[in-house]
Amino acid sequence: VIAGGGAVYGRKSVEIWNVRDQKKLGDLSEFRSGLFALAISHSEKLFAVGGGNYGSGGDLSVWSLAESRQIGFVSFGEFPIDGLAFSPDDNVLAAASDDGFVLLYAVDRIRGPQVKKQDFACAVRF
């Protein structure tokens, strides 16, 4: 059982825990801007974190769960990403944007700079 774990203000990290034995599997640190959403793919191969800063855009990054490695990064609009959901087949990632849009991304096309811009996680997901 895997939980995508959240951290706290100031900690600037996303933590991955194995709930069964309560051991931490991954700790992704050095994020730079707010993080407001987290989703784990149905295959449990990927997870996505969303966030950003008001006025400078919404940030979305996709990660390999097993390796805690960033696969891609996307920035959109002026305001943060507040919610994320993988489609049941994991092909599409929907992002709730404070700009007033639902953004639909093709998961296998999200690539780009290896930049960690989010700050703190505030979600747990199995």
């Binding site: 640190s29 305001f79 919610g83 049941p88 944007s97 007033g100 700079p113 979600a123």
Partner: protein, 228 residues
């Protein structure tokens, strides 16, 4: 002729622009191609959810009191329904969720009201949790018989069959807002994230003996210092 002050302002603006540009990663053409669609809502979008069969997509929105929930067909992006309840802050929807059996849709608003809707008809709703503080997290159990809801003030399990509401925990200080809640895949426990701790609760014990500390399976408190 530019005054010294004007030059300094221009220099400052140019520097700010350069710093902003440098700090902000530009999207590659590859990522522009990743964006399949932008579906518009009347206000800031706060949450999204796919129906279990992947045919419907729902969004909860609201910030400037233009709130509601909108449902689209994934195949053609046609709007299936726009749901609005109340006026002002209570109309702002913070969280949305589909039941795993695909029959129900739930919304949670700024006031901590959780509403249930029937997928397909969308015509009527039922308030199952009322006025429990700003909504943070909303999810159905894997067998679609329960809802877990967390807010600034409380973590709650609602049983759809009995109609019973069980409060797992309430806020005791300024810091412990209930940021997120999730069911385990077997539906026997929930994991709860308060501001600085992960807690796991056994559902059966919690529902049969509310407030029983035995129901708290574990609690992991995050350290405030970075460890290496």
């Amino acid at each position: 002729m530019l005054t010294l002050l004007s030059k300094r302002i221009i220099l400052a603006l140019a520097t700010l622009f350069c710093l902003t540009s440098a700090a902000r990663p530009q999207n590659s053409g590859e990522n522009a191609a990743a964006l399949l669609a932008k579906l518009a809502c009347p206000d800031r979008v706060k949450d999204v959810a796919f129906s279990p069969d992947g045919k419907l997509l729902a969004a909860g929105y609201g910030w400037n009191d233009q709130g509601g929930a909108r449902i689209w067909n994934v195949a053609d992006h046609a709007i299936v329904a726009t749901l609005t309840i109340g006026k002002g802050e209570e109309a702002n929807i913070e969280r949305v969720a589909f039941s795993p059996d695909g029959r129900l849709f739930a919304t949670a608003n700024w006031n901590g009201d959780v509403m249930l809707w029937t997928v397909g008809s969308w015509s009527s709703h039922k308030v199952v949790v009322a006025n429990r503080g700003s909504s943070k997290s909303l999810t159905f159990s894997p067998d679609s018989t329960k809802i877990a809801f967390s807010s600034e003030d409380a973590a709650i399990i609602y049983d759809l069959r009995s109609g019973n509401t069980t409060v797992l925990a309430t806020r005791t200080n300024e810091r412990n807002s209930f940021i997120s809640i999730a069911f385990s895949p077997d539906g026997k426990s929930v994991i709860l994230f308060r501001d600085d701790a992960l807690q796991m609760w056994d559902i059966e014990s919690s529902l049969s003996r509310p407030g029983n500390h035995q129901a708290l399976v574990f609690s992991v408190r995050f350290q405030q210092t970075v460890t290496t």
